[in-house]
Symmetry: C2
Subunit: 667 residues, 2 copies
């Protein structure tokens, strides 16, 4: 076995080609038991191998990079000390799980990272018993760990230790703080590992980020015993902890934190300690793993650790597209113009024209495109950090004073602000604008990030307007509509995809509340089918119409534009003319756009037997390329064409097959 070359060797090198990749240690690890057979001085080399394997793979397929490079030593130390076959390891967010996955025997799956037959980029119980929860949204790990810890106590399985791994950007999320507050009441072992890299995703926001900055630089200690006594007096149950103190080893004693804010939550706080120093991490974890009180271990790590280009630009390499490294030159694969970029440019234009617009993101300036907006309009834009609930309520405050807040948020994360949309926005009749990127399938991020619920969630709010964009002109026109719409909240959705280089329509007419837009007229006086597509599926439907035309079918295509209100006049005309309607949406069929069409018809006593719906069945679709996911769900061009032929060929009284469209990968 090769001798370790030390942690320093990991720094500032470039990843090597797969052909040159030597993974002598990693290839021998089929589970944590194999890890524990290694000597501690072999572990830095293992860390290096893990970094090389991950970086090599991500450079080919994209994926989360910098977060994983930052926790390699920490993951090794955790698996070296704990036995997560019985102990509980909960990841917060979860995009930092790659080293953990490699240590639990999933090197073989790495080559198909983020595809349905390979390794998910997030913890995934279907892959391994070492992954307890599929996660991707922030702030939840402490709470689920508290639940498991309480349950293990009840069943008497108190030998199972609980560990939650959470980053500094996540721990200030409200849910995480709620979790800490309740964790502090546990009368048993419970370890929160705070992975503090000072910039989880983007620069962390809020006053607590400044607090962490101070803690990081003030980690110089003296007079251990006096301080320990002070510390233990300060926290609840402190006198009981005096005993704990005497049982602790020197490493832990030395790291007892003075005046750490999370002490107030009832946790014994240790650190910050160096998260890349494996022997110290192992000593520390060994000394504290059996403390029968809630403990927070503050670990300082470097996001992107190991390569100069990832350490130097951890934000870009947080979750990069495929890239190449040649010498000092790192090049990200060009992937065309995304909706995100189009949104950013549209927002810059809008904000130049309208000084009442205020742009908000919750820790996703790059993901939403607002990184372009923030420096241009520092007074009228804000990154709140990972707190969608706060961001939404703050938007309501801005709207109350007459501003036009535009909150850019992933569809899936908008779920975290539902109650604020209810109370702070809709109940007050305030016009907050919600711009939802990543609507529908998100590709490699998988089920934890798909946006399939926003129509169903927001459709019942009085006076709400629900819009979707299918390309850059409709995105711009939709945003312009929202700028002017002040009757209530408005919501626009668009996918994680590129905008069409050549839009279907040369001239995009303005959005008019509740009006669809004819994209492809019927050739004859009465089409065989009229497709009402909502959002991005307009383009797949257009391809389907072309294919069907070759086969002799006459299909009209409308861009529905609004899921609320739907275009009642168009629907009535089509139904009265006997034209079958196919609704298409990249959203759960249940409660979605097609459902809105059905409800409208029922209210107006229109026959719905000529309406078919295509969308997402009630299933979870795992990670894969977006195109594959669309095909699997049956609403790509081929699926739409197939459905249209089925409608035409089988007439009006067959059971719709759409609810069975997705055949696999359900959980």
């Amino acid at each position: 076995m090769t001798k370790a070359t030390g942690a320093a060797a990991n720094t500032a090198a470039n990843p090597v080609d797969m052909a040159d990749l030597e993974l002598p240690l990693l290839r021998g690890i089929h589970g944590p038991a194999d890890l524990r057979k290694l000597a501690i001085d072999e572990l830095p080399l293992l860390a290096k191998e893990i970094r090389n394997a991950i970086c090599h793979q991500v450079s080919k397929t994209g994926g989360h990079l910098a977060p994983n490079l930052g926790v390699v030593e920490l993951s090794i130390a955790l698996h070296y000390v704990f036995d997560f076959a019985t102990d509980r390891l909960l990841f917060d967010v979860g995009h930092q799980c790659y080293p953990h996955k490699l240590l639990t025997g999933r090197l073989d799956m790495l080559g198909k990272l983020r595809t349905s037959s390979g390794m998910s980029g997030f913890p995934e119980p279907n892959e391994s018993p070492y992954d307890l929860f599929s996660v991707g949204h922030a702030g939840t790990a402490i709470s689920t760990a508290v639940g498991m810890a309480r349950a293990d106590q009840l069943t008497g399985e108190t030998h199972r230790r609980a560990v939650a791994l959470i980053g500094d950007a996540s721990i200030v999320n409200g849910l995480a703080m709620e979790g800490l507050n309740n964790a502090g009441t546990l009368q048993r072992q419970f370890l929160v590992v705070l992975n503090d890299n000072g910039m989880s995703i983007a620069k962390p926001q809020g006053a607590l980020a400044q607090y962490f900055d101070r803690v990081r630089v003030n980690a110089v200690y003296d007079d251990l015993k006096k301080r320990a006594h002070e510390v233990l007096q300060r926290i609840p149950g402190g006198s009981a902890l005096e005993e704990v103190y005497h049982r602790m080893g020197e490493v832990a004693k030395a790291a007892l934190s003075h005046n750490h804010m999370f002490e107030q939550f009832g946790l014994l706080c240790l650190g910050p300690i160096d998260g890349h120093d494996i022997p110290t991490l192992i000593d520390m974890l060994n000394e504290i793993k059996d403390i029968d009180r809630p403990v927070l271990l503050h670990v300082k790590t470097v996001k992107g650790k190991g390569f100069a280009f990832t350490e130097g630009d951890a934000t870009t390499f947080h979750s990069p597209k495929p890239f190449t490294v040649e010498g000092c030159r790192v090049e990200l694969k060009k992937t065309g113009r995304s909706f995100t970029t189009a949104y950013a440019d549209a927002m810059v234009d809008l904000m130049q024209r309208d000084e009442k617009i205020f742009a908000v993101t919750a820790a996703m300036p790059d993901g939403t495109g607002l990184s372009k907006v923030l420096p241009l309009f520092p007074q009228r834009s804000l990154d709140t950090g990972i707190c969608e609930s706060h961001a939404m309520a703050m938007c309501a405050g801005l709207a109350k004073v007459g501003f036009k807040p535009f909150f850019a948020v992933y569809s899936t994360f908008s779920q975290r602000a539902l109650d604020q949309i209810f109370q702070e926005v809709s109940l007050q009749g305030l016009a907050v604008r919600v711009c939802m990127d990543r609507a529908g399938f998100v590709g490699g991020d998988g089920a934890v990030h798909h946006g399939f619920m926003d129509i169903a969630m927001f459709r019942q709010f009085p006076q709400a307007a629900l819009l979707a964009a299918c390309d850059e002109p409709t995105l711009r026109a939709g945003l312009e509509f929202m700028r002017q719409y002040d009757e209530g909240a408005s919501f626009i959705r668009y996918p994680r995809d590129n905008v069409a280089e050549k839009p279907l329509q040369a001239d995009c007419p303005p959005f008019v509340l509740g009006k669809a837009n004819l994209m492809i007229p019927a050739r004859g006086s009465k089409p065989d089918v009229a497709i009402l597509a909502y959002g991005m599926p307009v383009y797949a439907a257009a391809s389907a119409v072309d294919q069907l035309a070759v086969q002799g079918y006459d299909v009209a295509l409308y861009d529905a534009r609004f899921a609320k209100p739907v275009d009642g006049e168009l629907i009535r005309q089509l139904i009265e003319a006997g034209t079958p309607i196919l609704t298409v949406e990249d959203h759960f069929v249940t409660g979605g756009f097609g459902a809105a069409v059905l409800e409208h018809c029922a209210d107006h006593r229109l026959d719905t037997r000529n309406i078919w719906r295509l969308g997402m069945a009630e299933k979870w679709i795992r990670q894969d390329g977006r195109a594959k996911q669309l095909a699997e769900a049956g609403f790509d061009a081929a699926g739409i064409a197939r459905k249209v032929r089925e409608i035409i060929e089988t007439g009006t009284h067959q059971p719709a097959a759409d609810v069975d469209a997705v055949r696999s990968d359900s959980r």
Copy 2:
């Protein structure tokens, strides 16, 4: 003008009859300007009058009592020092707004407390420009205040001060902490008043509650200057605050808090100070009102202050039913057996039979009935405090280890856990049971608390079962079904109402997934209309059926029982027989139970033109008696009978009128 008799006179007296109520000062207050004309030594008498007026009214009509009694002096002091005609006052939760309402000229509306023509029990912008947001859900005030403060900065209206009033139970809610974290970054005046009564609603939970206990008892200070220097060094921007310190008066200097946890959020912390000492409150607010930094003023109050019975049992008198006071004897009006009580008893039974059941509430042990369960099963039940998100994620952790968590929560507060139901529960396929009290109209609490969204929110979750109970036997049978259902999450809803003394059906058959239950069969072979009622409306529908029978109509009534899955076989039979179907639900029509019926029909190509839906239109209905609200919305017995006659008389091709059923009170 009567001379003040001092704060002591307010204590431990009983409320007097209205005839004896002398309100010489209060009757002269038509707005805060009148308040500011009073001398400070008159204010304790005003406080006494406010207490008497509120207690008298609540004793007659019910309402929030103890929270309002606790903030009388604080409300007076705030209005005495600030001018909320321009300054911004944001209430958190808002049930402590009565004194504020009386000080802003709403004594005349108090007599019709919690009715549509009187005073809302929560802040209500439609009532007064002094109420900025309609609120009722916790944790949001700091965030909306931050939004307004930022907006005022942008428009240059920096003379408008921002004040958020929040209780100790709310401030540990995750959203509040997110708000504090972002408030800490403000570079302007911003005041958070922490109303710490040590038991907001119920006994506060979590480690931070213990922290507050310690702060309360440790409020003894010495060596002011040394401490101030320490404090100012500790918080961000501290050096700039040295200057602030020199500008502060002696009262504020003396109250500078040593090591208050919210300092870490970037706030200058003061207190705790006595929240019933008006002169000190006024001095303090005057000294700090212009500090151009975020400040937290920790105020210690006594919940229920002023009367022996409310101070002695602030939980019972948090939001009591009408009551009588005679001498030392206080008697709450008897109001029959509620669904809440029935739920509590059912849970006790279930937990005795099944040791895997774990009961959870988020700060609502009395509101949900779990106060009966907690002492009986201390190991298998938990009150998490006001953190629905955490509670739901913790339930997922419990379920993961094999427990059967039952989370008792108001329908409206379940909105706060949607994202955890998505990620932690549904995506994992875990069987968390959600028991939703206060579904539909809640009566006097009004729009901030109605439960009209739960079906729409939860219906698209794969494998979810959605149930409703209409009386005690169905509640018990539904809970038993949920105990056994482990395919996914399950949700049961029931109203803020009493259970029927005599259930419609003597024997309640067990719940079978997706099966409705025939309650009143047709008299002939084919009824004129079949009603499918979901939940509580079953009883109103039964009355309607009786009325209609007298008029010669033959109507069958089904208790739908499930909104997911709906009873497809029954629906098919009815439609194929040509029987018109009327769905009735106390939920938004949009996305609700009737919508589920429509979607089922569309999937199976069944004609929907014979289906009518009755439920809540897309409007907000303000506070009033539940019966009045039901009548106004048109789904009480009379409304249902009217609808049935309309269906029969006008045939199948009239537009449904239900979407216009609610004619007023929209916002």
